[in-house]
Symmetry: C4
Subunit: 220 residues, 4 copies
Amino acid sequence: MTDESYNAIKNNFITALRIIYREGLSDAFAHLSARSNDGYEMMFMPRKSPALVQGEELFFVDFEKPVPQSSLHQAIYKTRPDVKSVFHFHSPAVILLSVLGQTIRPMHNYSAIFFDGVPLYKGSGQVESPARAGEMAKLLGGAKALMLRGHGAVVVGQSIREVCMLALFLEESARLQAEAMRLGAPMFMEREEAERIAKRTFKPTSVERAWDHFAAKCAD
Amino acid sequence: MTDESYNAIKNNFITALRIIYREGLSDAFAHLSARSNDGYEMMFMPRKSPALVQGEELFFVDFEKPVPQSSLHQAIYKTRPDVKSVFHFHSPAVILLSVLGQTIRPMHNYSAIFFDGVPLYKGSGQVESPARAGEMAKLLGGAKALMLRGHGAVVVGQSIREVCMLALFLEESARLQAEAMRLGAPMFMEREEAERIAKRTFKPTSVERAWDHFAAKCAD
Amino acid sequence: MTDESYNAIKNNFITALRIIYREGLSDAFAHLSARSNDGYEMMFMPRKSPALVQGEELFFVDFEKPVPQSSLHQAIYKTRPDVKSVFHFHSPAVILLSVLGQTIRPMHNYSAIFFDGVPLYKGSGQVESPARAGEMAKLLGGAKALMLRGHGAVVVGQSIREVCMLALFLEESARLQAEAMRLGAPMFMEREEAERIAKRTFKPTSVERAWDHFAAKCAD
Amino acid sequence: MTDESYNAIKNNFITALRIIYREGLSDAFAHLSARSNDGYEMMFMPRKSPALVQGEELFFVDFEKPVPQSSLHQAIYKTRPDVKSVFHFHSPAVILLSVLGQTIRPMHNYSAIFFDGVPLYKGSGQVESPARAGEMAKLLGGAKALMLRGHGAVVVGQSIREVCMLALFLEESARLQAEAMRLGAPMFMEREEAERIAKRTFKPTSVERAWDHFAAKCAD
């Protein structure tokens, strides 16, 4: 990795943490990681609030070395070679749906992005052990996101920017779904319909436009 | 168009975008347009967050030229010669009502403004094509606003300031209606009653007073 | 009235407007008034957002002179010699309860302050005429507050500071009641119980303490 | 107590008040106390908003001397020798649950912290007298928190930082529970399950991490 690409990743990493904090998706606990260019280790963060971590505190860890809070990230990188970044966070609407045994179903232009489903891990508590992390990675399968009962969610993607936007879309979708469930019978979308919409609302240019928006808010 | 009136429109345009962002009616995606003085083209904005677009980035486009995200605006200007400005946005309470198949019904002094009804376009996804844009414009008819299922809304009016205020009133009305529906059977207003009230709450002087208020908030 | 007391009232007036705005109880429309020392006229404000009115724009108006938005205030001062200040505003939870035909009932330490009841004016629309203002004043009777269906509320009290705090307590009580109604059968308080509590939670020293708190927030 | 430890406690005390205010758990009324090192008196605060109290205004009071708003704190220190700090506050979701006769039940990683139960004091009004304070302390028993109907909550712990975090966790748990109750039948946790989780989510290092996060937010 060149110094330049390293610095770009570091900047994206810190901005993503600030966005997640600013948008109300995390309190003092959230963990982001990014696969390194050679593919066998990940950039990771110390045990600190996402609002407070600084670029110079980021470090690399390989996929076998036990580091606090790292096991879920490591298990996913090992089973999903396509994944370049993982974001785990505790956001309120996701937690709300999860304790009701519900998961995200497409009903608007953003929830459509999750057309391939968001599995719900029903075990309670934290990740706790590499064995549980492995179960969670297995349940995630090829999906973009996994919900963890009474705990939060994990999203995976092709870049730090993409997982950051997926985190925002997931929480917004959970909030809409919770509110709609209170009010009656929302019109859900069929998978094909949702997939068609996702092709338009989750393009790389849309991710960039949303990233620019949220990054600017954090810089205020 | 003189330089002076051009600058006034540009300033209103940018302020309206900032208001819509500041009041929580848009994330990175919302599009405003304003009919030019000669009536055959519209001032439009680039594909950028309404929080970030700058005055010098605005441009004019005629009603036939395909430009990304422009087709709904163009279709409305062509069928509604009275309309001077169009605002399309994705606001949370409007989206919530729309996925429940509900639309705004007058129940308080602001929702009364929509006494002539707010049609709901039931197709899902984005505008996607000039043909769909035409369908939406047709469904809007002579009304002030149209809701788009799982997507957002479009409001039309006599000026940028007016559509900006209509956008705020529509979202507030949607939020009140959603909350009232959760709690029981709200007292809706008859059309005549709503029209009588709208004459008092939606006068040019009221629009100016509300505009001054929200514009000042943005300048903080 | 000495210059000193005049300036003190003006400062309280402007601070009360800023508080009501800062706490989300008003958009561009809210009207405060204060009875003058001699008792036969009131300090009033121009038709401008409470966030924007300046001290030098305040003026005195007697109880018979028609001035826009003044008739409800005038009608109350004429029928309630004990009232020194009147605040009319459009706050979201009050409007919500009002369209459901509900009014505030004591269930916690602040709603207890309204132990003598909050009548609900069922007519829709604005105040509109001195005749309607008179009906509203009559319905208010000896109470501290009146709700107006689909419109807002008016609170009355011994001073600007007191009506400002009553406005905050009324809106908080309306929000709690709306949320509690969604969840089941809240434990309401008997009138005697509420009156006993109000004697402790609505003392002059409590009003001063709350005023200092909210005034400091506005000065941030 | 050395000057150094005295200053450290004072700084924690003021920061805790600012956090509770900044996070929306108090209006102008909340009272924190901290047991002094010798164990027979408590650091206390004047009758002022937690947003406004200054370090030099704090004072010590022994457990028998009547001081306004002190009796609940004193009663708890006398019956719970393990308790080093007490926080009493009026937070919206706790009040909401309390008027419904509900109390916190573990359903997520933070509510699990209250695995030993949160009693609900059903009497209405304020603390009012040392006799009522004694009843409340007795009902608290060995628990971490007590809810007071239509009034608020009190939390107790090993340090100012711990009670401050417990206050935030309690309010967040109340909000989640209220929202989940609206939506269906949440999956509650068994006591053993909750206790196992609490051992991981309520460790001294987690309290420090959360404290650093919220203290930094206040310093913004």
